[in-house]
Symmetry: C2
Subunit: 341 residues, 2 copies
DNA sequence: TATTAGCACTCACTGATATCGAGTGCTAAC
DNA sequence: GTTAGCACTCGATATCAGTGAGTGCTAATA
């Protein structure tokens, strides 16, 4: 059987209607809803076909139709390709400038949640291929050294090192010079074993300190695992009956609280390379516990290569149009605000 | 009317039974449950008295009794004063040692949540009366300075400062010396305006940098507002029908996600000076959105004056005995682990 | 005088039954 | 190919009687 234009129109009408009402939609509704000027009987026949093709189902005999994942997918694909062309009209979703990046991100998540009524998440940007910019070793007290490590993206890491006995100023200066001259501008991959050996040798009795600092450097740059995730509006989950039963809601809330699953999602979305919008419907979701939901993610990019993920989790009958629009807008704003700031 | 010992026994039995079952408890149940050897009729008379005194209520005529907030309060007071004496038996709630303090805290929240099946929170410790230990100003790039501020409790703060033009090494050294000699060992309260004026004067053209650093110092030490809150098991809320309706659960989940309300709670608990256990029942809660819950908090103390709050939020019919016991245990462990580490 | 047995009464809860109506598929007419 | 008409399905809602756990009150009892 073929999916002609009329069937497509009817499918779209079914999906739209279902998104609005959340109730199975019947033939009579569609007959009035569309401008096809067809009787409900005709629509019924078409709907029977659409069901056979797997785009819609009846929850039970004598009920209207509900889109399947496949139906949503088709709808979303069409919608997205239309959105491509269309210029995004300006909506009033606005971010204020914030001092700190993480405050800005928190705010973005919140604004998105309030505007869409879904649960939202945003990951801190991930600095790929990051290079060392600056190392500073200072004596904090007689037996404590502080290593401050700054990387290209201005990510700052602190690391306290316990020492046996106090180092004098001269030694400290020497160590600082040694490390900065040898390591600045390098990424972790470029710091290899021979280099480490040379450094340690030059450090003499203080080779353990160098080792310690290098470990901290490694951790600071290779910060895949400490991708920060900020969430907002997890309670919105409870607004959608199809997600609000104890079992499901519990899992979702848990995922939003623990954040590990969301980290996966963020990393996955980043890995996919696409800068655009990604939509996961039901089973397509990369996270087991979100498989009854739809997820829409976007990748924002603060500067070249400094990317993060922003996403929305909601019921499958999500207002995709609105979500995609709002997401794009926030994404653009994030970009702009940072460049200006 | 007087609350004699028998009434007290009956009240306790009612509360215990209700905690277990969550169902209104009737006179016959109590008659069997206690070893008072009284008929249900006698119990009924006593229960009528207890109701008149405001310790229990009937949800409706022809139902058993349920404790009121006042009833819970009496029960908890008795329980706590008994717990005082009793030596805590060793349970197997164990924390593993962690590298970083925040990992340890996260773990504590999680363990507590898993063990009790309630929602839990823990605040990072708050360093009161904190003194400055060390300031380091370094040049990161031509127009960026990095101020690293270390306080007595080894809390490290970083602050990036943009500069018009590059400072040479000598000036930098001078500024560092200036600030360290003048400020080390002082608390924010001790850094007054005349002192700031003198510093700025000595800094000459770089007075703006000094001002900038001082702001950062102030923020670093006076870190009331950035008390970190870690939560776990917020989804446990959904396990208790009396909290699981959309309205209430939404509010609770929201509180646990936004964390601001919990910060209030933590600060309040710290302010109360008590090192022991605090129990808030229903309306007693300092947070509006938690007024249908009970909250049990404890103050942990890593070192002298370095205190944080750990707390549990659950339904009013909470297993207070177990919660208090577990909380005490975790509290002790937190203390020990840190001292050893 | 305190306790208890007995009894009438209350009321949430359960399950059976009836009714309603939105929606379907099919057939026959247009 | 489209549509009107009709019988049929089945979830949702309302009604109602029956059940049982629980109460308060009264009168008998130790």
């Amino acid at each position: 059987m073929e999916l002609d234009e009329r069937k497509m129109t009817i499918l779209q009408a079914v999906v739209r209607n279902y998104l609005e009402t959340g109730e199975p939609v019947g033939s009579r509704t569609i007959s009035k809803y569309t401008d096809l000027n067809l009787s409900s009987a005709t629509i019924r026949n078409e709907m029977a076909d659409l069901e056979e093709m797997g785009y819609i189902v009846q929850p039970h005999t004598s009920a209207g139709r509900v889109p399947t994942d496949k139906g949503y997918r088709l709808y979303v694909n069409c919608m997205l390709s239309e959105k491509e062309k269309e210029v995004d009209e300006i909506k009033d979703v606005l971010l204020k400038k914030e001092e700190k990046l993480d405050d800005l991100l928190k705010q973005a998540a919140k604004v998105l949640a309030v505007n869409t009524n879904y649960a939202t998440m945003i990951s801190s940007p991930r600095y790929r291929e990051n290079k060392l910019k600056f190392i500073q070793l200072s004596r904090v007290s007689d037996n404590q050294l502080l290593a401050v490590i700054v990387t290209e993206g201005n990510v700052i890491k602190n690391h306290l090192i316990e020492t046996e006995d106090a180092l004098d100023d001269e030694t400290l200066l020497k160590l600082n010079l040694l490390m900065n001259t040898n390591l600045t501008g390098l990424s972790v991959e470029e710091i290899n074993l021979p280099m480490v050996a040379v450094l340690k040798k030059q450090a003499g009795v203080h080779s353990d300190i160098v080792g310690n600092v290098l470990d901290a450097v490694c951790e600071a740059i290779h910060s895949d695992e400490d991708l920060e995730i900020y969430t907002s509006g997890a309670n919105n989950i409870l607004k959608y009956p199809e997600l609000a039963d104890r079992e499901r809601a519990g899992e979702l809330i848990h995922a939003f609280e623990e954040k590990e699953p969301l980290t996966e999602l963020a990393l996955g979305s980043l890995a996919s390379q696409s800068t655009g919008i990604q939509v996961y419907i039901g089973d397509e979701a990369p996270i087991e516990s979100l498989k009854d939901c739809s997820i829409v993610t976007a990748t924002y990019e603060l500067e070249d290569g400094i990317k993060g993920t922003i996403g929305i989790v909601g019921p499958k009958r999500m207002d995709y149009d609105k979500v995609v629009g709002t997401l794009k807008q926030i994404k653009n704003q994030l970009d702009d605000l940072y460049k200006k700031g």
